[in-house]
């Protein structure tokens, strides 16, 4: 805890970092608010663009944009009835009717405080659970790490798929296949390189994730036409009495958001929906939901922001991201030489508190910059996607190029991005693909190392944790088949 306060004091006494965080949070809110620009896309591009900065500065920028963007989506959800990010879809259900009733500013104000509360709640959970979980994770050896990563990728494919679940898994497997390209980590054996020297070093995850997160969005939103904004009336700063009555609801939504955030690949979108449905089912005014319920927007916004902290728990302790933006954050961590996982607390003992400090300061900044955006920068929402999207494409090119200063990475970014656009249109989720690209090498290396050490699969499974994880993976696969589901339900 002492390190957390030291980290906060360090941030508060560094004017350049505070100023950068302020600008980043503000930009994050605007990015989140602009339809077509998502938090994940922004962070993916930023990973490339902030590569040359110090670790402190890099994560101050990325986390501020992350916190800001998840909140920002609610502004457009309220004013345009179009969620700026997927996580604000639940907010639109009640936010827009409130704006139609002439309470747009109050709705923006109340979602801002709910987002603040959600972020802080998620952060407290992160700081409480992560150190304990990392102690358990220390028991993990190569095989457990490999199986856990595989389990994470499969769960992500299962949770993220909007259409058929199998599409999520195909995406995850394709991502892991992409990660196989290049020199193999154990034998230095070239795989799928086609004798191309550029392919020898493999496909780096940063260009891959920039490509699949940004290019499909650019192509998909080029012809998007935005409806006119609702008129903003009333005060943008809610009174304490108006906020305090939602504290019990916020606490419950925070717990739900954090818990959903921990599930690999589930993330902020599902966190918001689950918190919303929980609020609806327990509310005394159920009939108001969907017609302009304050409880609805408070639950959704607390839920999605609490999922930020939740998504970081498996990321920092097990190296398995809980949400798509956290998957991109994993890329940023690896790029700066910080390997998340059980050893993080030993190798970088201050990092968790540092990140916590950044999140806490960013959430306080959110309270102020949220007002600024809603009052003064709201006109930014009028920039048509037709102008914005080509600019995003240019930023993606720079982001992909900046890491290794190789034009080949830009080719990879573009090729994967365009290929994934077609899969994206067929409702193949992006997050499992990216998780596959990032976690693929970890699964491959650890699995074969375990086979090497133990001399095969069966001796490996004598370890209890490995056996439990192996059974979990098999069950997860079998549960997709209807005959197995029937067998299971009959027995139950």
């Amino acid at each position: 805890m002492e390190n957390l306060w030291l980290s906060i004091i360090h941030l508060l006494t560094s004017p350049n970092i505070i100023l950068t965080m302020f600008i980043s949070t503000t930009i994050g809110i605007i990015i989140g608010a602009l339809p077509g620009l998502t938090a994940t896309m922004a962070i993916a591009i930023l990973v490339g663009l902030t590569y040359s900065l110090s670790t402190d500065m890099c994560f101050a920028i990325i986390m501020s944009v992350y916190v800001g963007a998840i909140y920002g989506g609610s502004i457009t959800a309220i004013l345009l009835n179009i969620p700026g990010t997927g996580s604000a879809a639940a907010t639109a259900l009640d936010g827009y009717p409130l704006a139609v009733r002439g309470e747009a500013n109050f709705a923006i104000g109340i979602t801002r405080t709910a987002s603040f509360f959600g972020t802080v709640f998620g952060l407290i959970m992160l700081l409480t659970i992560a150190p304990q979980l990392s102690k358990i994770a220390l028991l993990f050896t190569s095989v457990e790490i490999a199986l856990l990563a595989l389990f994470g990728v499969l769960v992500s494919g299962f949770v993220a798929a909007e259409d058929l679940k199998i599409k999520g898994w195909i995406a995850a497997f394709l991502g892991m296949l992409v990660s196989c390209v290049g020199i193999d980590l154990l034998h230095a054996y070239p795989r799928f390189t086609f004798n191309n020297p550029m392919m020898m070093s493999g496909i780096f995850f940063v260009p891959a994730m920039i490509g699949v997160f940004s290019i499909p969005q650019v192509l998909d939103n080029l012809r998007l036409v935005l409806p006119p904004r609702m008129k903003q009336t009333g005060s943008i700063i809610p009174k304490w009495s108006q906020i305090s009555k939602y504290i019990p609801l916020s606490l419950r939504s925070g717990v739900i958001g954090t818990a959903i955030g921990i599930i690999p690949g589930a993330g902020e979108d599902i966190g918001a929906w689950m918190a919303y449905f929980a609020a609806k089912s327990t509310s005394r005014e159920k009939e108001k939901f969907g017609k302009g319920s304050y409880e609805g927007i408070v639950a959704a916004e607390t839920g999605n922001n609490a999922a930020i902290g939740g998504a970081l728990i498996p990321l920092l302790t097990l190296s398995i991201p809980g949400s798509p933006p956290a998957a991109v954050l994993l890329g940023a961590l690896l790029l700066h030489g910080i390997r998340p996982g059980p050893m993080l607390m030993f190798e970088f003992p201050e990092f968790l508190q540092q990140l916590g400090g950044i999140m806490l300061v960013a959430s306080f900044i959110l309270l102020i910059s949220g007002i600024l955006v809603a009052k003064f920068f709201i006109k930014a929402l009028d920039i048509p996607p037709k102008i914005l999207m080509p600019i995003v494409a240019v930023l993606s090119v720079i982001g992909a190029y900046a890491i290794h200063i190789r034009i080949f990475d830009v080719y990879v970014m573009l090729f994967l991005g365009v290929c994934y656009y077609f899969l994206f249109k067929l409702k193949y989720p992006v997050a499992p693909f990216v998780l596959g690209v990032i976690l693929g090498p970890m699964i491959d290396e650890n699995l074969r190392r375990a086979f090497w050490v133990h001399g095969g699969l069966l001796p490996v499974l004598t370890r209890p944790i490995a056996l439990v994880l192996f059974v979990g993976v098999i069950l997860l696969i079998l549960l997709q088949f209807s005959w197995f589901q029937k067998l299971f339900t009959k027995k139950v």
């Binding site: 900065l53 034998h187 720079i398 699995l447 074969r448 086979f451 095969g456």
Partner: protein
Amino acid sequence: MEKKDLRKKDIIASLIILVVGIFVLVDSFRMIFFTNAPGVKDIGWFVAPGVFPFILSVGVIIMSLIMLSIAYRESGRMKFESWRKFSKYFRSKDTFVMMAEIGLLFFYVFILLTKLRFILATILYLFLSMSIVKAASWFKIAIISVLVSLSIAYLFGNLFKIPLP
């Protein structure tokens, strides 16, 4: 997108993914049984560099076959008319714009960035890209393209010292 239309497109996607899976399977088979990688002969085939891609390719093949069967079952009867309706998709304005934008992106990355300086290449790309979707008047598009390109080059190239392509 209507479910039946989606499933028809799913059939094509599953076939492409199946071909990718078979290609990887063949190549990974070679990497398991025809390799001199250390440890493979002494310990066993399961430590060979091709094992992981082999497992993945088997998974991809099985899943693409399942996907194919689901898509075939749910896509309805494959009448000639329905395929003709389906082919309309490729002739629509939206598809034309999307294909033009994809072509322009490749032109920007493979031709413009390699032949011209970053600022000039970006001005041209932004101008053409915004013109295709008729984002604003020609004059406004020209101004936006020049200002944005110069700002990006200054911000990232000069201020943040990020190397530009």
